[in-house]
Symmetry: C2
Subunit: 357 residues, 2 copies
């Protein structure tokens, strides 16, 4: 349901702020580019899609998103190569996923053509904000929020779909220590864990802060029923290498269908790596750590691409992972990077060039 006026309206800044930015000291997600995208939904239709100067907006405190968390988001990136060409990575996957998330959260789906056009145009306008070089990229945050004013727990009739751009460096630096969840959980069967619903993330802050007090950066969530199966981390899917087999949990109601995850699964096949998509139990993991067959654990997600996990904690014991000379994580990270930054061929057709002129 699109309104008749679906032509992208563009209102440019009069002068750019890009010169004021210290690109060597960016805090992830804190700096925003000159422009943002916004499209309102009301009277049963998406209204005129608009790119306009990044800035604050006037909202009422009774807006439903504040009270009922009716909100979804995405995370994606644009990369610049040595020739100043700019690329997106599987952008249609993010659109598909935000629409899946929206459906679960009773938010109207957003039209594909408008999304892709807005994305291209926005990145084009703010291309000078994208730095070249390893780890540098433009983080792209599409999101939708319930904007109807009303403090009764029912779906909003009005929404805003927006896209923000934020220049970033690598997300996690170095190795990550993770704690395996025994008490708290991330999502329920039949719940919204498979959606990038805003509330899933806020709900993790407290248990994650408890893990951080113990010296871990992240939690690896387990199923909420028995805390028996390894699921995923805060904003990453998780891979385990036991001997030479790469294992990751199947997606489900509770687990986000990560684009990095599915790309790594394809890369693994491409590289002839033995892949096993199955539920791995915590006790299998412990046994493999103890008998030395556990070689690697790594996280996979857009923000960090691949995160090397050096330690995991479970029930007051800490298990260390040795660096592997033939690391899968290193290999996948490089291969993904090379595709994303237009360094290598892209046999999968994942890279989408942004039309800059």
């Amino acid at each position: 349901m699109i309104n008749t006026d679906s032509t992208l309206h563009i209102e440019k800044v009069t002068s750019t702020r890009v010169g004021e930015v210290d690109f060597d000291n960016l805090v992830f997600g804190k700096t925003f580019t000159d422009h943002m995208f916004e499209c309102e939904y009301k009277n049963g239709a998406w209204q005129r899609p608009t790119i306009k100067p990044y800035g604050p907006m006037l909202v009422y405190p009774g807006m439903k998103v504040f009270h009922y968390g009716q909100a979804v988001f995405e995370g994606m990136k644009a990369y610049k190569d040595e020739n100043d060409d700019v690329f997106l990575f599987r952008p249609e996957q993010n659109l598909e996923r935000i629409n899946k998330s929206s459906k679960r959260m009773a938010i109207p789906e957003f039209p594909k053509e408008i999304f892709l056009e807005a994305l291209n145009e926005l990145v084009r306008l703010d291309k000078d904000w994208i730095q070249k070089g390893d780890g540098n990229s433009l983080y792209i945050r599409p999101f939708a929020i319930a904007t109807e004013v009303g403090v009764s727990a029912s779906p909003s009739k009005e929404y805003k779909f927006m896209i923000l751009l934020s220049p970033v460096q690598a997300y996690y630096k170095g190795f990550v220590k993770v704690l395996i969840a025994e008490k708290y959980s991330r999502s329920a069967d039949g719940g919204v864990g498979a959606a990038k619903a805003a509330g899933n993330y806020g709900a993790q802050f407290y248990p994650t802060s408890l893990a951080q007090e113990k010296g871990f950066q992240q939690i690896i969530w387990t199923d909420s029923n028995e805390h028996k199966y390894l699921e995923e981390a805060g904003t990453m899917n998780v891979f385990f290498r036991i001997n030479d087999t790469l294992i990751t949990a199947p997606t489900s109601d509770r687990i986000l269908d990560g684009i990095t995850r599915k790309s790594i699964l394809d890369l693994a096949k491409h590289n002839g790596v033995n892949v096993d998509v199955r539920k791995l139990t915590v006790s299998e993991l412990i046994a493999a750590a103890e008998d030395g067959s556990l070689k690697e654990i790594f996280g996979a997600g857009t923000a960090a691409v691949v995160s090397f996990i050096s330690h995991f904690g479970f029930k007051d014991k800490i298990y260390e992972l040795k660096e592997q000379s033939d690391s899968f994580a290193v290999m996948f990270k490089k291969q993904l990077n090379d595709i994303q930054y237009n360094i290598s061929e892209d046999p999968f057709g994942w890279r989408k060039k942004v039309e800059l002129f």
Copy 2:
């Protein structure tokens, strides 16, 4: 952690909007009074508490509440008696609960004295918005939202605690049909179901809309593991009367500790009703419906007070409940109402008079 300047600052409207309101045709939660309360949290402390004219606020689209649902709320009411005295119902319980919710959502707790003072002052200022008469009240919505700008999934360092007031009539009219959840779920063990976290509510909209398409108004949630135990409804705890015993689920990680629920449990004891706080299974319920021992089901929550449930659906079958001449629901609703509106004695000390002058 309160800042030194914790004196309540008050900025009044120049003229009231109360004359413009059609109090006989209120939509729940859509009309707001002249004033609202706001207190910011930054630099590790709550800043100056302020009552000011209700109105919009300027916020950035990168604010964490939009992206990570880091938000909690409460729902309470003020009631006016025939002498124009105004009463709150167990307000300290709501403060305690929002602070419990906040803790689970990594939001700093709000100071009790400031909350109670602000509440009294706000209700006092807008007392003309409270209508007398059965079902009429002033709905009070305290809430806290994460206001730091930053699209990275970590707790906000800045918050707003606000209170909105909204004049309301009775919430649900008549009888309610409920559907027992078989597939979707509301919360997980170890999750945030026991908190009034914003995201819990948005997550129910889609499954509830599916139930509504089948002719039900609400879902009765069951446990996410087996869908075996009856838990609670969207914004109500649920009571079952089998023969003359009143049964309700124990509170847990997954179930909100409702103030109406606990008040009804006290009233039941006071009335000599046999109470059984235990997990009731769906199959027990069906059996009781079939052999006629199931007499009543009702919801209990601030918005609706007591909701009479006339039908429940399970697996394509609909079960009807006959009206009882000695209805527990009717009795509890009247007793609660009489306490809330200062019609009867209040042996429990639940009623708190608002200091109006």
